[in-house]
Symmetry: C2
Subunit: 101 residues, 2 copies
DNA sequence: AATATTTGCAACCGATTGGTTGCAAATATA
DNA sequence: TATATTTGCAACCAATCGGTTGCAAATATT
């Protein structure tokens, strides 16, 4: 199955889950309370995020706390690198224009 | 239709297209030569990239040259911001460990 | 004027997606 | 021990995705 970080963050619900998990680790039930969908739907999203290593789990009793793996998201940052050069160049150009005025 | 930058870069072929276009603007035909798929499939991808503003076009005669809009990709960079803090913290931690050895 | 090239658009197709409901397993609580 | 809570898994469903083929329109070329 084609499962990578880019596909993982393509879905807005999954991005929202990551935004919640970056603040603190949460259980699927706690996460589901923040969304309109069912717990199972949220669990599916967590499954996809886990599958490509963006989140990890830590079980304590019957509860499972999920937390973000920021290193995986760094992969996106690395891919963006070549484009970052471009928008920084454009900013420099704007800077030059402003200096000349 | 749910079309945003995150969904645009989810597909590996579209990422490859952007990687080609960042070097130089290209026509759909020229792009299609770099892939196994048909020109029409590539054109569909270009359509999606155009729809969410990641690429723009410049028509000269019957040829259309597509180029990257780096500002749109910056949106992803901005979203990554909150996580970047995390992996930088972890790097600092590793740095501390190495210094103590 | 006739022909070739470049492109976009529409129709169709199988696979995947994001969602649902139902249920079983494991752990906590009464 | 009986019951409640938390979770994962499987089956199913409509919508979307990435791909195809066919065709028409616009521009170059002969």
């Amino acid at each position: 199955m084609r499962r990578d970080v880019f596909q993982a963050i393509a879905d807005p619900t999954r991005r929202a889950i990551l935004t919640l998990l970056v603040v603190q680790a949460m259980t699927p039930n706690a996460l589901a309370e923040h969304f309109e969908t069912t717990r199972q739907a949220v669990s599916k999203h967590i499954g996809i995020l886990t599958e490509c290593g963006v989140v990890s789990q830590k079980q304590t009793g019957r509860e499972i706390h999920y937390h973000v793996n920021p290193e995986k998201l760094k992969e996106i940052d690395i891919w963006l690198e070549r484009f970052r050069k471009m928008w920084e160049d454009r900013f420099d150009q704007l800077d030059n224009i402003l200096n000349n005025l």
